[in-house]
Amino acid sequence: MEVQYLADLGYLVAAALFIFSLKYLGSPRTAPRGNQLGSLGMLLAVVITLVRMNSAEGGVLGWPLICVGLGVGSIVGVVMAKRVQMTSMPELVALFNGFGGAASALVAMSELVKANAESLEAMGPLGRDVFLVAASASSIIGWVTLTGSVVAMLKLNGTLRGTVSFTGINLTKVGILALTILLSYVLFGSPGSVWALLGLVIAACVLGVLFVVPIGGADMPVVISFLNSLSGVAAATTGFVVGNNALIIGGSLVGAAGLILTTIMCKAMNRKFIDVMLKVYGEPAQTGSDEKRTVRGYEAEEAALAFDGARSVIIVPGYGMAVSQAQHVVRELGEELQRRGTDVKYAIHPVAGRMPGHMNVLLAEANVPYEQLYELDDVNAYFSECDVALVVGANDTINPAAKTDPDGPLGGMPILDVERARTVIIVKRSLSPGYAGVDNDLFYRPATMMLFGDGKAKIAELLAQVKDL
């Protein structure tokens, strides 16, 4: 019995380490230590669990399975973490979210399968109710997290293009959600029902797919943050299934953290969370006149002249920079400009890219000094004194329509005031509108030079030209 109490105290220490971990992850200086404390807490929790199981009557029963699980998981985890490219980070984080959710759901399922009349009896009436409700909830949330994350990952790596939607998709989602609750109720009445459990799993998996499939690429920061939150909620719910406080604390910390990030991302896009989840944006509406506006594509040679004698340049990266892996050559261009006496700033919009902080990770990979990165609120004052704003693969985050058309899809979204710069150079693959489907006035302004083509190639051309100036 005493081992049980010691173990509980040990779990408390692990939980405290998680709290410190999250706290330290909030500041650049302490973040690496935060990560170490988190992994230390996790190691402690695993060791405690093994010791406690070993001290139980008969010792650890399942060494083979446990060794297989820990071994295979560690190898796969290490390989995935080592091999991933920084540009693919959103996919990996999405997938890990899904794994966390699925693991929680599998634990709940395993406990449900193991449960029999005798073991349920032993929990007492309240214990039985809590166990069954938590196990169903954990199964639903966990499987939704897994399939939702997998769809998000496939969208992020380009396997799934565009959005899929159909009339009545929201009604279908509500219907399936109701079905999962109904099946939970059946399980509550007869916990041994295999078909109810399988039905629950399948329904939850379908729900996860339907939930992410209609959501477009630019809303991915919101979706990933939310899935992150769900994986925490699943862990916390599983804590009630197995009666473990470490799971409850760790899970709800992550659930809350993910929710905060979700809110931050929604604010940065001026979207309501409920709209991202349920509103089907679909094809961009053809608004306004049909008049064809023409735009002239410039050559790197012409554009490079704008940098001649420029005192201040602001670089605005977007998802296009990630796609073309242009971060290194962008940094080289920035350095070359600095060598020529130009002040170089990077303007980071909170939802640039496909996950929170996506651009920061890429620029850090390319060794861009932290001090050169400016947030939305801080950098906007500088655009009016800036000679050249160089936009690399960003669109919606710089679209003046957010101000000029307050009722449009972008209306009210905080944007980077690129338009105020003396010259705007936009590197972009085509004239196609951004995710929001709104044409960008900026492209047609006389002070704007459009450089059409692959981000990396075009920036490299610019760099070569700037060196020749």
């Binding site: 709290i19 599998l106 920061n360 990979e365």
Partner: protein, 103 residues
Amino acid sequence: MVLTATVLIGMVTILVLSVFLGFELITKVPPTLHTPLMSGANAISGITIVGALMAANAELQGGSGITAAILGCLALILATINCVGGFMVTGRMLEMFKPKKGA
């Protein structure tokens, strides 16, 4: 073990307080760190590994125990990937944020 109302209320209290703590801890994080934060938080949600260890702790003999144990083992694999991979990749990212010498 019988679950009493007192114990349950204790668990719910822990849950609610942790949620508040989570909100407090995260609100002030600078955007630069959003990706590593999310990835680190995700690794922490791998704490479900504790539940997975318990679920996988069964002998491979007899009745429904096998299914439960195999489900537990699968859970353990996924949870371990989540923890090990999550903390490692977060470390890799944070390494890049460190000021570099001579870069």
